[in-house]
Symmetry: C2
Subunit: 252 residues, 2 copies
DNA sequence: CGGTCAGTTGAGAACTTTCAACATGGGTGG
DNA sequence: CCACCCATGTTGAAAGTTCTCAACTGACCG
């Protein structure tokens, strides 16, 4: 099984074969979940760190009166909070969006790997910091941007994140989100998402049909959405901490 | 100098005298900054972890066209991103709001302390996770809540955070934010903040005058704002990892 | 074939912004 | 000591954005 996590971490650090083998172990006991299922719920006691091996998931929080906010998306290779077991109970829920393959990693396995592989420890810190940076960017997105920019910004982010783990095909990528889910993520109604998507489509900035997204001119969409990729920290591919081997750089 | 950080971490772990002394060292070379000054700017190379010893600060991000979003508030005892030096450049800026006393902590000092004090390491993880949880809650706040709830929610959060470091006086606390700053944080205009504050005042939920906030009935404000304090993870005061001593529990 | 879910459309209502004017208070320079 | 200035707070009215409600379409599934 291909571990997208490895590809992602290699955006930051050049991993040795031993590092990669250690990470490979994380994907060994995959669990399968159907689409739209809770993986863990608000109030649960978190015992494991979940790793999304494949598929899309999300964090969300449901208010008493039914409103739901999707707080972040998990794409293949994403880890749900290293060290989450420090907390007594989850303050949000995590659910699948598509069918998902995931690994539940125990504290001892993770402690063991980080104790032996300082480069991995460092790379996981990078991942943690990038995750935090994404959450901050969502704050900016929800607070300052009108619907069109906001949605365009999200599409840029998802596209670049998928590209960093090799899940894009030229200017296209899989895009399984419904308009309702997009609405819950962007703090907009699905009706308004619909109209906003139409606007993005009519200006030729995106092609979205049949669960597939194409961004004909990424630079144009970025510009229209005031998207600055700096917060993804993909700019210094493998230039820290090299161990061996080489990769083709990702151009942003 | 009283280190609010110690008080905060004691919400999670009972620290030994040795732990506290180690933390005390962090406050030894304080730096003073005037109000409304950048501490570090987007694009800078982060060398130090900043610790707010006293005063209020914020993260913010400025868009090309001048719009500004305040992404989070730093209150006394708050750390600005442990391990931030893993990243090459800041993706946001940090600025003071009031005059601030801060300590810039080098990587080596922090590494040294965490190597020797596992309880501190654990407590810093707790702090990191709570910071992330707060950012997620802001996502919910900006995405789902109308102005009155949104502002009420922020006031509850700030009040509880100040209380956890002993900076409240009964039902009151210092509250130096201008309406413009509140607007930048909540994604609302200062005009609308003004009207929303009037509404909160007229219903008796808050008293806000002369840079001082009083919440006569915290439970009522929490209820009106659909505020659930679980994300602050203050609920198990000192019950993990005890070393010695005891504290009065904080009632939430 | 009926049912359900996702997507689409229209029109009015609600919330928030914009713009512009005015009030207040503290601080500064004359 | 007073006059002035500037930042902050306040108010009104119109404009703009987004939501709500409600109806309708198309695709897929059993």
């Amino acid at each position: 099984m291909q571990l997208y996590l490895i590809r992602k971490l290699e955006c930051f650090a050049k991993l040795s074969m031993a590092d990669k083998q250690a990470l490979q172990v994380l994907g060994e006991k995959p669990r399968r979940c159907a689409a739209r299922q809770d993986i863990i719920r608000e109030g649960d006691d978190p015992q494991f760190v979940n790793l999304i091996l494949d598929g899309w998931a999300c964090r969300y929080k449901q208010l008493e009166d039914g409103r739901r906010q999707i707080i972040s998306f998990f794409l293949p290779g994403d880890l749900c909070d290293t060290h989450i077991y420090v907390l007594r109970q989850m303050d949000h829920s995590i659910a699948t969006l598509t069918p998902v393959t995931l690994a539940s990693i125990s504290r001892s396995v993770l402690d063991d790997i980080t104790a032996r592989h300082p480069r991995i420890t460092q790379a996981l810190w990078w991942d943690t910091l990038v995750t935090a940076a994404i959450q901050r960017e969502w704050t900016v997105n929800l607070g300052q941007r009108p619907a069109t920019e906001r949605l365009g910004h999200l599409l840029c982010e998802i596209f670049l994140r998928l590209r960093s783990v090799g899940l894009t095909d030229g200017a296209s990528c899989s895009f399984p989100l419904t308009q309702g889910e997009l609405g819950d993520a962007m703090g907009l109604t699905s009706v308004h998402i619909n109209r906003t998507l139409q606007e993005l489509r009519s200006t030729g900035l995106i092609i979205l049909e049949g669960r597939r997204l194409t961004i004909p001119d990424l630079a144009a969409l970025q510009q229209a959405s005031l998207f600055n990729p700096n917060y993804l920290h993909l700019d210094h591919v493998g230039s820290h901490l090299d161990a061996n081997g080489s990769d083709e750089p990702l151009d942003l």
